[in-house]
């Protein structure tokens, strides 16, 4: 067996037991009593700030009160009414920046009501029983195409199915779920939760998922609009921003999203190779997820190198602290210059940066970090604009997700506006579904 000190990139750095321990639930689920105690802390605020802070507008005080009174099933219904992926959002939402930041107890005591964990308690209660609390309306006879089986696509599909439409989802990957399945840290979606959630969500009926279809490749917008009166695009950001530095092509230089995807799909974590010295370039959630999981796999040193200051980092302070508590070193104001090595990477050269007159530039001072493995986590991009108008680098949409093309809606990470969060994608999918429904039923 190898160890954290084994040179290069190697598998089996830790024992099976340590790996299993490292990749358990980040936040253990609440048991019934813990949930009752946590729920009791909610003040049932008037016009509660937490609701306003939730991109899906879940009636949080109501669902917490329903937990407090012993009806977590009713609480789950309250959550799912607004957010059918409430189970995943309970696990991955940056609640510290959303509902829990707005909680009045955060202001009062610096200790908000544990909304995320309570939401998980409620949603788990229902999902573990396999109960789908919604029924489909009378069939409308309409068929809608959804491209992408990630959070936005699934949310849209479920709402449409509920309203009586038949939905076909086209997805590029062999499994549905999008980033929930392939893109987030394993310790946030344990026990195959993403796949179980898809199975549960589609149990409402009327949703068919076809795999192996990639927009702009073997699927075209013209084909879709020809067959379906309404199309919802939720293709996410499938491309990765390029990093143009010397040595970018050395062995050991990889995209963080690929590493995470491989890890999420691995049956045996001990078979996953990871560097002794890992550097992740970037400052978002993907960077944190890749860094922490490298450490959990047994890397000796892991560093996140971010070119701006801490405040500009898009990973929340909570995520930064999570990384630090796992032994990940956070470096700010450094940008990559070159990957050194002879074939394989052995070191990453970084240059310190400074911002002058709002412009970031190198100071000339450099530092070399040992690096067997370098992960690029500097953002993702659209792979195709599908002939639609763009807003910046994303598809331009109205409030209800309408694109520049009649009959085509878009939402989730591929659409402009809103944060690139699961919960935002869910809201956009849901709202587009309502608009699609209204459009299809016009004159009905």
């Amino acid at each position: 067996m190898n160890s954290p000190f084994t040179p290069g990139i190697a598998a089996s750095r830790l024992s099976q037991d340590d790996l299993a321990e490292n990749f358990t639930d980040l936040h253990a689920p609440l048991d019934a009593h813990e949930a009752a105690v946590a729920a009791d802390r909610c003040y049932f605020c008037h016009d509660a700030p937490c609701i306003t802070a939730c991109p899906t507008d879940i009636d949080i005080p109501l669902f917490i009160r329903q937990i407090a009174t012993g009806t977590p099933e009713a609480a789950a219904k309250t959550i799912f009414d607004q957010n059918i992926l409430g189970g995943m959002c309970a696990r991955v939402c940056p609640t510290e920046d959303l509902c829990e930041q707005a909680c009045v107890r955060e202001m009062a005591e610096g200790k908000p009501v544990e909304i995320g964990r309570l939401q998980r308690y409620a949603t788990d209660t229902v999902m573990d029983k396999g109960v789908m609390p919604f029924n489909r309306a009378e069939p409308t006879g309409h068929k809608v195409a959804v491209v992408g089986a990630g959070p936005a696509g699934l949310s849209c599909a479920h709402r449409l199915a509920m309203l009586g439409h038949d939905v076909t989802i086209y997805d590029a990957k062999p499994k549905a779920g999008g980033l929930n399945e392939y893109g987030i840290a394993a310790y946030k979606s344990t026990d195959d939760f993403a796949a179980r959630e898809v199975e549960w969500l589609t149990s409402i009926g009327g949703i068919e998922i076809k795999h192996g279809f990639t927009l702009g490749d073997n699927l075209s917008i013209d084909e879709l609009t020809g067959c379906f009166p309404a199309v919802f695009l939720a293709v996410g950001l499938g491309g990765v921003n390029a990093l143009s530095i010397d040595g970018n092509d050395r062995d050991g230089v990889e995209d963080a999203v690929d590493f995470i995807e491989t890890l999420r799909q691995a049956d045996d974590l001990s078979s996953l190779p990871v560097g002794r010295n890992v550097v992740v370039i970037g400052g978002g959630m993907t960077a944190v997820d890749a860094a922490v999981q490298s450490k959990l796999l047994g890397a000796e040193t892991v560093t996140i190198a971010y070119r701006r200051g801490r405040d500009a980092m898009s990973a929340s302070r909570y995520e930064q602290d999570l990384a630090a508590s796992h032994g990940v070193k956070l470096m700010f104001n450094v940008q990559p210059v070159a990957v050194h090595g002879n074939g394989a990477a052995v070191a990453l050269e970084l240059e310190y940066t400074a911002t002058t007159d709002g412009k970031l530039s190198g100071t000339g001072e450099t530092i070399r970090l040992p690096a067997d493995q370098v992960f690029r986590a500097i953002g993702q991009t659209l792979t195709t604009d599908a002939g639609l108008e763009l807003d910046g680098r994303k598809i331009a949409v109205t409030d209800t997700g309408r694109t520049s093309r009649k009959g085509v809606w878009a939402g989730g990470d591929c659409a402009a506006g809103g944060d690139d969060l699961t919960v935002t994608a869910v809201a956009e999918g849901r709202d587009a579904a309502m608009d699609i429904h209204a459009t299809l039923m016009e004159g009905a």
């Binding site: 003040y43 008037h46 016009d47 700030p49 009045v104």
Partner: protein, 434 residues
């Protein structure tokens, strides 16, 4: 540290905290543990007549009301008087009293409403060396069906009669324990006084059903699918008990009658409140049953600290001090005008005051776009509901308006002079000013 020694009816105890007649005082073992823990006195669990003792149910005896985190707010019970042999109890009482001469030992008694029954038991109790007796006229369940307990306590004539027998056949203090399951607590108290009682103790437990099992449709505690009303006690009953204590302390007929206060005493503060309303000491049960005997240590230290802070050197200095300020509604000053005031630095913007006022009161709180909550003086009647529901202590307060200023709600000048309903022009029964 203030001296907590209390003299109640000539019975001295090192502090005013007695354990009430109840399950915790049923046996020598428990009572010794209580005295070791520091309790000032004990009212031994109620003795019945000689002969086969009563039997208890063999299923649950207690039901409960929970607050947050399963905090016990109230317990009810369907346990009867002692189910142990009379002589076993008497021997134990004698032994414990001999070993703890500085603690108060009171024996609770409940025998049928016949003179001979009392004539038989009282000499036996006298022989134990206990400091006094308490007549259990309060138990609302089981025993009342047999013509004892609350069945006696609900008929003032019986109270007077039995009390008189006790004074006749027993030489030491007689305390009459009153049931709250009546309409006017002053009537049984006056009856006890006429019968010669040295004191009353109150309240006994309140008729109650704590909960219903919605699966079996049986009240809790449920015995083989059936439930019955039990006696309710604990923090939830304290307000009822304090009101009754104050009624007796205030009524001219019973004023001055010593009172042992019972009902939800859980902390030193509860005890101080009962005593300020006229109780010479307090009796505790539910708090001990919830947390064990050790809680008396907090009661002792807390009461001492408070007395030191206030400059009281003995408990009798504050007994009844709140009674002059306890009055009838008709004598409240209607010229006193207050307005709610929200401390914006303390406000956490939960909006509970707004919801309460807007939905259920006087629409006197305004809410801004940025969740700033402020009082609309033109609408505020100073009802205090916002203060009550605010989760932050001292965030909202009631501020009295200065005489001479104008109340924006009524447009009237706040008068300096006291004026009450008895002379108010809207009162059809108003009497001319005296």
């Amino acid at each position: 540290m203030a001296d907590l020694t209390t003299d109640f009816l000539g019975i001295k105890s090192p502090n005013p905290f007695w354990l009430a007649s109840a399950p915790p005082t049923d046996k020598e073992y428990n009572v010794r543990r209580a005295f070791e823990a520091g309790w000032g006195g004990v009212v031994w669990k109620t003795l019945g007549s000689e002969g086969p003792p009563v039997v208890n149910v063999n299923g649950p005896r207690y039901g409960v009301i929970y607050g947050a985190d399963r905090r016990v707010l109230g317990i009810n019970n369907i346990e009867l008087i002692t189910d142990r042999d009379l002589y076993t109890n008497l021997e134990e009482i004698k032994r414990v009293k001999a070993d703890y001469p500085d603690r108060a030992m009171i024996v609770s008694i409940m025998v049928p409403c016949e003179e001979q029954a009392w004539k038989d038991i009282l000499p036996l109790v006298e022989d134990t060396g206990a400091d006094g007796i308490e007549l259990n006229f309060g138990c609302p369940h089981g025993m009342s069906e047999r013509g004892m307990g609350a069945a006696v306590g609900q008929v003032p004539e019986y109270i007077e009669m039995v009390t008189r027998w006790c004074k006749q056949y027993y030489s030491k203090p007689v305390i009459v324990k009153l049931t709250p399951n009546i309409t006017d607590i002053r009537k049984p108290a006056a009856a006890a006084m006429r019968g010669g009682a040295d004191a009353v103790s109150l309240i006994n437990t309140i008729n109650s059903i704590t909960s219903v099992n919605l699966d079996t449709m049986s009240p809790e505690p449920s015995i083989d699918g059936k439930g019955t009303h039990g006696g309710y006690c604990g923090p939830a009953v304290k307000p009822i008990a304090m009101s009754m204590v104050s009624e007796i302390a205030r009524d001219p007929e019973t004023a001055g009658l010593p009172i042992s206060g019972i009902g939800g005493v859980t902390t030193w503060r509860d005890a101080a409140e009962f005593m300020s309303l006229g109780a010479g000491n307090v009796q505790v049960c539910t708090a001990a049953m919830t947390y064990g005997f050790k809680i008396v240590q907090e009661m002792i230290s807390g009461l001492s600290q408070w007395m030191d802070e206030k400059g009281y050197t003995s408990t009798d200095q504050f007994v009844g001090r709140a009674i002059p300020n306890t009055t009838d509604w008709q004598y409240l000053n209607l010229n006193y005008v207050a307005k709610a005031k929200i401390d914006q630095d303390k406000c956490i913007s939960c909006g509970r005051c707004y919801a309460a006022c807007e939905d259920t009161s006087h629409q006197a709180i305004a809410m801004s776009e940025d969740r700033t909550f402020s009082v609309i003086d033109e609408e505020c009647v100073a009802c205090n509901l916002c203060v009550d529901v605010c989760p932050v202590e001292d965030c909202i307060s009631m501020v009295a308006m200065e005489p001479g200023t104008v109340d924006p709600r009524t447009g009237k000048v706040v008068e300096k002079e006291y004026a009450n309903w008895t002379t108010h022009p809207n009162n059809p029964a108003a009497t001319a000013a005296e």
